[in-house]
């Protein structure tokens, strides 16, 4: 199916590629990546103006798309020449400087066209890897899996493959357990390279078979860098056994993957990773299995990703071959996979070596031989799969972006619920202070005692009052009335704060419980306010009381009043101010009591007015109320932070204060990176848009 020029090209490549000491293949991968562009203008005087489509037409071939073999050697010659040019490095991220290398003015060189792609991919990889989905949401599990798979695919396949478009074609043999993958691989290379057996699952670590000439590239570890290369069969996880098989044509390698559907979970993950790194999927299924749900899911994924697929229907009872292959073809057509070549292998006895009889696999071997021999077809396969994988990035990343937005939205929702709960608590406390309700009851009674005994007036006569009080306190052992009044306010405030915090904690807890992500973050301690809250609330009130006294002292100092009045008077004044805080709005006449309270308030205010003047009292009252509210807010914020800290601890930042519409969501970074990749892909023109049609099974 190819011209005779092709075999000549292969040794040439073989000379370059498997040569590890060639400075790490460093310049080499970079350059061929450019001309592997399939007939796109080669940089160094290679008739660069030749359009891609032209290349398709001029090959004397049977299949139009696999035809273009001519440009490859030519381009390769160019690339070999270019290896001598000072290419900086082979790393994708640093390839941008190369954009300036081509000097052809009419059309940018392919290097230029492609070079945007690795850089964009690297950026995408960084962004995807940096985005976490820690909150438990319906989309999060999928997103984590997809993101992990995406990063793995970028590392394992896309970046190395872009680096070396002409590296050997990797055929991953995947399928259900017991489908006979290992036997098939063994038979294809005519050697027992992968253990086959009756126990399921048989293959646990993947085996890669290639021509000795190609083994350098695979050993090098650019492709699938996460797997340790091993020479011998091993059961270690994350190893890739490399086997050379001279019977295999150069330019083609088989990877015997573990199963996709057995009880061994590690196998499934590994198989998915390997399939994502395939240039060509050779999907093996059997007569008993071809309608299983799991493989079809994978086939759909492959189709969506544009991966080139070939199918082997194995272990077919000879008399049922027609019926089954017809049915399978129908199913393939229904899944829009009609283009995939299908090979039907009958159920046979294996020979002494555990290989299928030669005639059974002849057709398949023949097909692969032709593919291996035709560099153009190989390149087309690579490009098709690469392009498909790149194109599939955008929808996948869009899904990730949505999931990331979901995460941020969930974090915002959770934060809002906590804020709402504590806002309610704050409002309750403010209201309790605002409408003077705190003053009724005990405080009122104490105040009346205080006033009724004339102590307020007495204490205003500072020295005498203080002396007498001390004497009284010393004789009776009772605290002075002023003290009692203060502690009453204190205990009431503390109760108020404790209840407000308890209720807010409960509301926040309930709010989170109702949200799946919130429920996962909760622990029992969050249903209650923090353990040291009572102490902190008491401390808060005492601090505030001290503040009020300080405030009175400062205010009074201006008027030189403090200089003359003794500390006790200031204390009493402070007390009066505290009471004014609570009562200054309590003038709504709802009965005798309020009138009485109002009356005493008026009395207190009158006294204070006499000392400070009306305006000063109001300022004092407002200031001390504000002071109290500020402190309460701080306390409640600390309580709320116990919840929000959990969100921050898992690494999701909620959008700030409802300005989400304006701000860039965390998903936008992903979208931008994906759009860049998409743009670079469109520019790179890896395929001409038509779907690759592989040669049929029966030729």
């Amino acid at each position: 199916m190819t011209t005779h020029g092709e075999p000549a090209a292969d040794p040439g490549r073989a000379a370059v590629v498997p040569d590890p000491p060639d400075d790490g293949g460093a310049p080499a991968p970079a350059a061929p990546a450019t001309d592997g562009d399939g007939g796109a203008p080669a940089p160094a005087g290679d008739g660069g103006a030749a359009p891609r489509s032209g290349g398709d037409g001029d090959g004397p071939v049977h299949e139009p798309e696999s035809s273009d073999t001519d440009p490859t050697p030519a381009a390769r010659a160019g690339s070999d020449a270019r290896t001598a040019t000072p290419t900086p490095t082979e790393r994708p991220s640093t390839r941008q400087p190369e954009e300036t290398t081509p000097t052809e003015p009419p059309q940018p060189g392919p290097d230029d066209v492609l070079s945007g792609l690795p850089a964009a991919l690297t950026r995408l990889r960084t962004t995807v890897a940096a985005t976490a989905y820690p909150l438990v949401l319906p989309s999060a599990d999928d997103a984590r899996r997809v993101a992990h798979g995406l990063v793995a695919q970028l590392d394992d396949y896309l970046l190395p493959r872009l680096d070396r478009l002409d590296a050997p074609l990797l055929v991953v043999v995947g399928g259900s357990t017991g489908a006979g993958k290992s036997t098939l691989v063994n038979s294809l290379v005519r050697a027992r390279v992968s253990a086959a057996g009756v126990l399921r699952p048989t293959t646990r670590s993947p085996v890669l078979v290639c021509n000795p000439a190609d083994s350098g590239w695979f050993r090098q570890g650019e492709l699938l860098p996460g797997l340790t290369r091993a020479a011998d069969p091993t059961d270690e996880p994350d190893t890739l056994q490399l086997v050379s098989a001279p019977a295999l044509t150069e330019g083609l390698a088989f990877l015997d993957a573990p199963d996709i559907d057995s009880v061994v979970d590690a196998n499934r993950a590994l198989a998915a990773q390997l399939l994502a790194a395939a240039d060509l999927w050779l999907f093996v299924t059997t007569a008993a299995r071809y309608a299983d749900a799991v493989p079809w899911e994978l086939l759909r994924t492959a189709r969506d990703r544009g991966t080139v697929i070939a199918l082997v229907l194995d272990r077919v009872p000879p008399d049922a071959a027609d019926e089954i292959s017809t049915h399978l073809s129908e199913m393939l057509a229904a899944h829009d996979l009609a283009a995939a070549p299908l090979f039907v292998l009958p159920e046979t006895e294996v020979d002494g070596q555990g290989l299928l009889p030669e005639p059974v696999t002849a057709e398949l071997r023949d097909w692969f031989d032709r593919l291996a021999a035709d560099a153009g077809a190989r390149a087309a396969v690579v490009r098709q799969t690469l392009d498909g994988a790149l194109a599939a990035l955008a929808p996948a990343v869009a899904g990730l972006a949505t999931a990331a937005d979901d995460q941020a939205a969930a974090a915002t929702t959770l934060t809002d619920r906590v804020r709402g709960a504590y806002r309610g608590a704050r409002r309750g406390v403010e209201q309790a202070m605002q409408d003077g309700r705190l003053l009724r009851g005990e405080v009122l009674a104490r105040w009346q005692e205080f006033v009724g005994t004339g102590e307020l007036f007495r204490t205003l006569e500072a020295r005498i009052g203080r002396l007498r009080d001390r004497v009284v306190a010393a004789v009776t052992g009772r605290p002075a009335p002023e003290r009692q009044l203060q502690s009453a306010i204190e205990s009431q405030l503390v109760t108020l704060l404790r209840e407000a915090a308890a209720e807010a904690a409960e509301n926040a807890h309930t709010g989170w419980q109702a949200h799946p992500a919130g429920a996962a973050l909760l622990d029992p301690s969050l249903a209650r306010p923090s353990d040291d809250l009572p102490e902190r609330a008491e401390r808060l009130v005492r601090d505030w009381q001290r503040d009020v006294l300080e405030l009175v002292r400062a205010e009074g100092g201006d008027r030189r009043f403090v200089a003359r009045s003794a500390a006790y008077a200031v204390n009493a004044t402070g007390l009066a101010v505290m009471i004014a805080v609570f009562t200054s709005t309590a003038f709504i006449p709802t009965g005798l009591e309020v009138a009485a309270a109002g009356g005493t308030t008026v009395a207190a205010q009158k006294v204070l007015e006499a000392i400070f003047g009306d305006q000063a009292i109001r300022n004092l009252a407002n200031k001390s109320r504000e002071g109290l509210i500020t402190r309460v807010n701080a306390l409640l914020d600390e309580e709320a932070a116990r919840y929000t800290a959990r969100i921050e601890a898992v690494g999701v930042a909620p959008a700030d204060d409802g300005d989400t519409a304006v701000q860039a969501g965390p998903g936008d970074g992903l979208r931008v990176a994906a759009a860049e990749v998409e743009a670079a892909r469109a520019e790179a023109h890896l395929t001409d848009g038509t779907r690759l049609a592989l040669p049929g099974a029966s030729s």
């Binding site: 259900s176 357990t177 017991g178 489908a179 009756v198 126990l199 399921r200 699952p201 559907d261 057995s262 009880v263 061994v264 979970d265 499934r268 059997t286 007569a287 008993a288 299995r289 071809y290 309608a291 299983d292 749900a293 799991v294 079809w296 272990r315 009872p317 049922a320 019926e323 089954i324 049915h327 199913m331 309750g428 209201q431 309790a432 309700r437 705190l438 009724r440 009851g441 005990e442 205990s491 009431q492 405030l493 109760t495 108020l496 404790r498 209840e499 407000a500 308890a502 209720e503 409960e506 249903a527 209650r528 009965g591 005798l592 009591e593």
Partner: protein, 563 residues
């Protein structure tokens, strides 16, 4: 090897057959559990239990002489071939197209009539029911009389509907024969989604490795061992594992023998349900934990609650008012009659709180008389907070140590009547006999004495006035009787006045003491009333939940099998 395992199992089984009575009592325990936890636990956790109760009732009401055996397995494992091989007839279509069987087929050994209702319930269409009773067979098939064999669709093909059908049927059958084949015996879906979920149904689970003929005979034991290893991983160690082949009639003898035994025992349905109960009990086991005392509200928390409620209900205010009202009323009864009227100008403290005399002390026995609301000042924000904190404290203390979901139920119960509290408290305060409505006898005595001495004073005054008038008119002056040196009227006047003041002065400390007693008494009574409210509105609902919890625990213990 299979034989040995099977024989050991049979021996074990023979020792402890599931008795229907035990099973029914366990099912009733599950029902009881559902009844008592209703409303306290999340409904979604109880769905399996509810399904079981319904299903078990239906199954036990149907023929117990039949044993429903299902052949379940992946597509292409040869369920239908095995089905046909067991029936020795071509009943279920066999094919190479996958998936082959889309609906369940049933074959009944013996008359169909008895099994029809059972099959209606299981949901096998009448046209997919076959009868295996042929005169030609003679007694060959007699041992299987009572067997209802089902050929299920697959559960792993692209047809999702098949899987749903299988899931439905697997919940209804008595014995499941899992059919696997050398290709698929290690598939994830069969182990993870199915076999693992059946680990409590070990008694009614059989695994057959079908298509054993496709393996080299030497490999068969290895594969069987590997299958057993996987089953052990599914917690199904010890279930019978048989190798079968549909091509060869003799290769199904093992399975036939097993089915014959099962049918004769008539135990599979009971064992199946017993396994279901086990699974349900295990599924809800984490919903109950350690035992709790039923009256799990400790005295400290209850005391705190009634303190808070008392403060919120204004008990101190009312008690204070009671003391003052006592003084007020005692003063009105025993005070110096000349100044008694002044008191009328001052309001009665209790009346000011709109706490008028009610049907106290039993003189008015009309219990239907509505209680008016009082004017006792409402609770302050701080008092309300204190009540909420105390209620929370009661709930937390009572639910300490309870497994998840229960604390919520307890907290909900504690708060269930919080809205009724203010009115209940107010009503309790209004309805409490404060003990100041009746005038004590000694008030009347002292009051009478006061009047007596005052009358004496007035008499003296009148006498003097008469004497004075007589003298003014120049009439012969009256002769006052003399007491010592003092004339009688003067003594009456001054002595009466002084005595009145003296009595008032002497009685005052007594009144003070009695008023304080009255206050204490009122306080005690109010506290008792408030405590009663606390018990009714907060503690009782909490106790009800705790009782439910204890009952749920008992029920679950009863539902757990005694193995």
């Amino acid at each position: 090897m299979t034989g040995i395992v099977g024989r050991v199992r049979d021996a074990l089984r023979g020792e402890r057959p599931v008795s229907p009575d035990t099973l029914i009592s366990r099912l009733e325990a599950v029902e009881r559990f559902l009844r008592v936890v209703d409303g306290h636990l999340p409904e979604e956790r109880l769905v399996p239990a509810r399904t079981l109760v319904e299903r078990a009732a239906a199954r036990l009401a149907l023929s117990r002489d039949h044993t429903v055996v299902a052949l379940a397995g992946s597509t292409g494992s040869g369920k239908s071939s095995l089905f046909n091989a067991l029936a020795r007839l071509e009943l279920s279509p066999v094919g190479v197209r996958r998936p082959t069987t889309g609906v369940a087929h049933a074959c009944v050994w013996g008359p169909l009539e008895g099994a029809n209702k059972l099959l209606d319930w299981v949901g096998v269409l009448p046209r997919q029911r076959y009868v295996r009773e042929s005169a030609l067979d003679g007694d060959d098939e007699a041992a299987l009389h009572g067997l209802v064999l089902l050929d299920l669709p697959d559960f792993d093909s692209v047809e999702r509907a098949h899987r749903l059908e299988v899931d439905r049927l697997l919940g209804l059958v008595d014995l499941v024969v899992w059919v696997v084949d050398p290709q698929k015996y290690a598939d994830r879906v069969i182990h993870t989604s199915y076999l693992r979920a059946f680990h409590r149904h070990r008694d009614v689970t059989v695994v057959v490795l079908n298509q054993a003929d496709r393996l080299p005979p030497a490999e068969l034991p290895r594969v069987l061992d590997d299958l057993r290893r996987l089953l052990t991983g599914d917690q199904l160690d010890g279930v019978p594992v048989l190798a079968t082949s549909a091509v060869d009639q003799t290769a199904t003898t093992n399975l036939r023998a097993l089915l014959e035994r099962t049918v004769t025992e008539r135990q599979a349905a009971l064992r199946r349900l017993a396994g279901d109960v086990d699974a349900v009990v295990a599924g809800v086991a984490d919903l109950v934990g350690p035992p709790v005392a039923e009256d799990g509200v400790d005295r400290g928390a209850a005391q705190q609650l009634s303190d808070a409620l008392a403060a919120a209900a204004g008990v101190p205010v009312v008690a204070e008012a009671t003391e003052r009202a006592y003084r007020h009323r005692a003063g009105a009864s025993t005070g110096w009659p000349l100044v008694r009227g002044w008191r009328r100008l001052r309001p009665d403290p209790l009346r000011r709180l709109h706490l008028p005399e009610l049907n106290r002390a039993g003189d008015d026995t009309d219990p239907a008389r509505p209680i008016a609301a009082t004017s006792v000042p409402g609770p302050t924000a701080a008092q309300r907070s204190a009540v909420a904190l105390a209620v929370r404290g009661v709930a937390e203390q009572a639910s300490a140590g309870l497994p998840a979901s229960w604390p919520n139920a307890v907290a909900g119960a504690a708060r269930s009547r919080l809205d009724d509290l203010p009115d209940a408290l107010d009503g309790a305060v209004a309805a409490t006999d404060l003990g100041v409505d009746r005038k004590p006898v000694w008030w009347r005595l002292v009051g009478g004495l006061q009047w007596l001495v005052t009358l004496a004073a007035f008499a003296g005054l009148g006498w003097l006035l008469v004497g004075y008038g007589v003298r003014v008119l120049g009439l012969p002056s009256l002769e006052y009787p003399m007491v010592g040196q003092v004339p009688m009227p003067t003594l009456l006047l001054i002595g009466g006045l002084l005595l009145g003041l003296l009595i008032a002065g002497l009685v005052r400390p007594v009144i003070g003491w009695a008023a304080r007693r009255a206050r204490r008494r009122a306080e005690t009574r109010l506290r008792a009333a408030v405590t009663e409210i606390a018990r009714n509105c907060v503690v009782a609902p909490v106790r009800a939940v705790l009782r439910s919890y204890a009952e749920a625990r008992d029920a679950l213990t009863a539902a757990t099998s005694q193995r």
